[in-house]
C-alpha cells in the first residue's frame, strides 16, 4: 500500500511494514531534545522513573538557549540543574553558550539530524527538522523524561495535508511569506494533529534556511509535524556535517492525503501577521500605517545566515529610524562568526542595530528586549499571542527579515521598495 513520507518514517521506527493515519504506534527515537526551560521538569521525571542511566548518551541533546545568558537567579538555577545532569550522564550533545546557540538552528548545523530520522523535542518548534526530510515533533517534559529513560515514545500516526506550491516567487518574497500566507488559509488549528507536507517546484527551489522557516511554523497551524521530501539541496546540506548515511524517504504515488491544497505563488506579496495570531495575515500592501517601537530579527524561525544576509542587504546604506530599537540575534555561534566574516554584522551595526548573544532573545518575552505597555514590535519570530513579547497590552506583528529591516528604516511597517 502506498504511504506518505511521514507514514514511511513512522513505519521504519515502529518496525512495521505499514502505518495508516490513526494507528497508535510505539517508536524508537533517534534524537531527544530539551532546553533550559523544559529540561529541568524532564530531569525530575527521568529521576522519578528510577532508571540509573539515559537510554543513549549520544541521542540526547540538551541546549541552554531560552534564558541565556541567564537573566536572574532562578533561570541560572535551572540552567545549572541541566548542566549538572548533562555532566552526570555524559550527555554528548550539551552545548554551552559559545559552542551553541538556538536548539533548532544548531542541531541541523552540527549534523545531528539526518533525513529519515525520528526526532522528539520538549519544544513545540521541534517540527523544524522536517525540512531535512525527518519526522520531528514537539512534546512536553514528561514525554521527554520518559524518552530519556526508555528511548521510545507512543505516537498516533497523523493524516497528512499536502500543500503544493507552484509558480514564480516575487523578488522580495521568502519562505516566511509562504508559511504566513499558508497559515492565513489554514487558521491556527487548521492542521491540528495533522502532518503538513510542503511540496512543488517552489519548495524544491528554496534554500535550506528558508525551508527550515516553513517547517518551523507548521505547529502554528497545530500540526504534529511539517515535512519536505529530501532532494539534492538537502543531501548537500547534510553531506559534510555527519558521518551517518541519510535514509531518504519520499511519498509514494497514490499515497493517501486528507487534503491537497494548491497555491499559485506568483501574486503573493510579503506577508504580515497582525496581533494576536500568526494566522491573522495581510499582504504588505494592505497593512496601512503601523508605527513601531522595536524590531527584532532572529529566533529559530528566522535567525539563520540567509536571514541576516537579507537584513544586511536591505539596511546597507540606510539607518535605523530614530526612536526605533533594532535587535538582531544570530541563531548560533558558528553563523555569527560567518556573518562577521561576510561583513553582514558590520553593515547591521553601522545601520544602528544592536547585536545580541546567540539565544532565543525576546521571542518569548522573558529576556533581552521585553516590550512595555502599549509598545509595538515587528518581529521575525513565530508567535504574536497576547503578551508573547512582554506586557499584555503590547503588540507583535510577524514578518520576514526583509520586511523587518525595511520597517526599522522607516519606523513603520514597510517593504524594501519604500526604504
Amino acid at each position: 500500500m502506498p504511504m506518505t513520507i511521514t507514514e514511511k518514517i513512522l513505519a521504519l521506527h515502529a518496525h512495521c511494514d505499514h502505518v495508516s493515519p490513526g494507528d497508535l504506534i510505539e517508536v524508537d527515537v533517534d534524537m531527544a531534545l530539551a532546553n533550559d526551560i523544559t529540561a529541568p521538569l524532564a530531569i525530575k521525571v527521568f529521576e522519578k522513573m528510577g532508571t540509573p542511566s539515559v537510554f543513549d548518551r549520544e541521542k540526547i541533546a540538551l541546549i541552554p538557549d531560552h534564558f541565556v545568558p541567564n537573566k536572574d537567579i532562578n533561570s541560572a538555577q535551572q540552567a545549572k540543574a541541566m548542566r549538572e545532569f548533562a555532566a552526570r550522564h555524559g550527555i554528548v550533545h550539551y552545548y554551552e553558550m559559545g559552542q551553541g546557540g538556538i536548539e533548532h538552528v544548531i542541531l541541523p548545523e552540527k549534523g545531528l539530524v539526518m533525513p529519515g530520522d525520528l526526532v522528539i523535542g520538549a519544544d513545540s518548534h521541534t517540527c523544524t527538522y522536517g525540512a531535512l526530510g525527518a519526522f520531528s515533533s514537539g512534546v512536553g517534559s514528561t514525554d521527554l523524561g520518559v524518552i530519556m529513560a526508555t528511548g521510545k515514545t507512543w505516537l498516533k500516526a497523523p493524516p497528512t495535508i499536502k500543500i503544493h506550491y507552484e509558480g514564480g516567487l516575487s523578488p522580495w518574497v521568502r519562505g516566511k511569506d509562504l508559511i504566513l500566507y499558508t497559515l492565513g488559509m489554514l487558521g491556527v488549528d487548521g492542521a491540528n494533529y495533522r502532518a503538513l507536507e510542503f511540496s512543488g517546484t517552489v519548495i524544491t527551489g528554496l534554500s535550506m534556511d528558508q525551508r527550515f522557516t516553513m517547517t518551523n511554523m507548521a505547529v502554528e497551524a497545530g500540526a504534529k509535524n511539517g515535512i519536505i521530501e529530501p532532494d539534492g539541496i538537502t543531501l548537500s546540506f547534510v553531506a559534510h556535517r555527519s558521518h551517518r548515511a541519510p535514509s531518504v524517504c519520499a511519498s509514494d504515488p497514490g499515497a493517501d492525503y486528507e487534503r491537497v491544497i494548491r497555491i499559485e505563488v506568483d501574486t503573493i506579496e510579503p506577508q504580515v501577521a497582525f496581533p494576536h495570531s500568526p494566522a491573522n495575515v495581510r499582504p504588505l500592501s494592505q497593512v496601512g500605517n503601523i508605527e513601531l517601537d522595536q524590531v527584532f530579527i532572529g529566533s529559530c524561525t528566522n535567525g539563520r545566515l540567509e536571514d541576516l544576509r537579507d537584513a544586511a542587504t536591505v539596511l546597507r546604506g540606510h539607518s535605523v529610524k530614530k526612536g526605533v530599537r533594532l535587535i538582531v540575534i544570530p541563531g548560533s555561534q558558528l553563523l555569527y562568526a560567518e556573518a562577521i566574516k561576510e561583513g553582514i554584522i558590520g553593515a547591521l551595526l553601522e545601520a544602528g542595530a544592536v547585536i545580541g548573544p546567540p539565544s532565543c532573545g525576546p521571542c518569548l518575552g522573558g529576556h533581552l528586549g521585553v516590550l512595555a505597555e502599549g509598545e509595538r514590535a515587528l518581529s521575525t519570530t513565530n508567535r504574536n499571542f497576547i503578551g508573547r513579547m512582554g506586557h499584555p497590552r503590547s503588540e507583535v506583528y510577524l514578518a520576514s527579515p526583509i520586511v523587518a529591516a525595511s520597517s526599522a528604516i522607516r519606523g513603520c511597517i514597510a517593504g524594501p521598495e519604500d526604504r
Binding site: 497508535l24 526551560i37 523544559t38 529541568p40 521538569l41 525530575k44 521525571v45 522519578k48 522513573m49 528510577g50 531560552h66 534564558f67 537573566k71 536572574d72 532562578n74 533561570s75 535551572q78 523535542g121 520538549a122 519544544d123 513545540s124 521541534t126 514537539g138 512534546v139 512536553g140 517534559s141 514528561t142 514525554d143 523524561g145 520518559v146 526508555t150 507512543w154 491556527v188 488549528d189 491540528n192 494533529y193 505547529v219 497545530g222 504534529k224 495570531s277 518569548l364 518575552g365 522573558g366 521585553v370 508567535r383 499571542f385 497576547i386 503578551g387 508573547r388 499584555p392
Partner: protein, 171 residues
C-alpha cells in the same frame, strides 16, 4: 472517575502563553507556577478556584508552546478536569501525562456557563449541568488516555507496564 465543581469559562484559542506567560517559566516548582496561572487574563485565578473546579473552554485550548508548566499550573490551581470543544495536540498529551484529564464536547463547551455546578463522569463521558439537569456526552476517552489517567500519569503508567512485562517474562 467522577468530578464535580464550579465552572470557570474561557474562550477559543487559549494559548499556553496566556495560561502561563514565559516570564514565569524560570522555576519548575508547581506551587510557584500555579500562582501565575492565567496571570495576564485572570490575575489571582488560583485564589478564586476551589479544589475540584472545572475549566470549560472553546476550540483549540492549549495552543502554542509545549511548556508542560501550563497543565501543571492549571492542575495545581485546583482544576480537576477541562472540558473543551477541542484541544491543541501537545497540550493534550501533556495534560494526560501529568494526570489532568481532558474531555471534548462541543455542546457542553457551548452550553455551560461560568459559575454553573457541573459533574463529569470520565468512565461514561457523561457531563451534567447540576443546576439545569441538562446532560451532554463527551467523546469517549481513548483507551491509552484512560489507562494513563487511572495510573496517575505517564510515569506511573510506564512503571506499571514495565513491571507487568517483567512479571510476564518471569512466568
Amino acid at each position: 472517575m467522577r468530578f464535580q465543581g464550579t465552572v470557570w469559562k474561557f474562550g477559543d484559542d487559549i494559548d499556553t502563553d496566556l495560561i502561563i506567560p514565559a516570564r514565569f517559566l524560570n522555576v519548575s516548582d508547581v506551587e510557584e507556577l500555579s500562582k501565575n496561572c492565567f496571570a495576564d487574563i485572570r490575575k489571582g485565578f488560583m485564589d478564586m478556584v476551589a479544589p475540584g473546579d472545572v475549566l470549560v473552554a472553546g476550540k483549540n485550548f492549549g495552543a502554542g508552546s509545549s511548556r508542560e508548566h501550563a497543565p501543571l499550573a492549571i492542575k495545581a490551581a485546583g482544576i480537576s478536569v477541562i472540558i473543551a470543544e477541542s484541544f491543541a495536540r501537545i497540550f493534550y498529551r501533556n495534560a494526560f501525562n501529568v494526570g489532568l484529564p481532558l474531555v471534548e464536547s462541543l455542546e457542553a463547551s457551548r452550553s455551560l456557563n461560568e459559575g454553573a455546578m457541573v459533574s463529569v463522569n470520565l468512565s461514561t463521558g457523561e457531563i451534567e449541568d447540576i443546576d439545569t439537569g441538562r446532560r451532554f456526552f463527551a467523546k469517549p476517552l481513548p483507551d491509552l488516555m484512560r489507562r494513563i489517567i487511572e495510573a496517575g500519569g505517564l510515569v506511573e503508567y510506564v512503571k506499571i507496564k514495565r513491571a507487568n512485562n517483567e512479571l510476564s517474562k518471569a512466568r
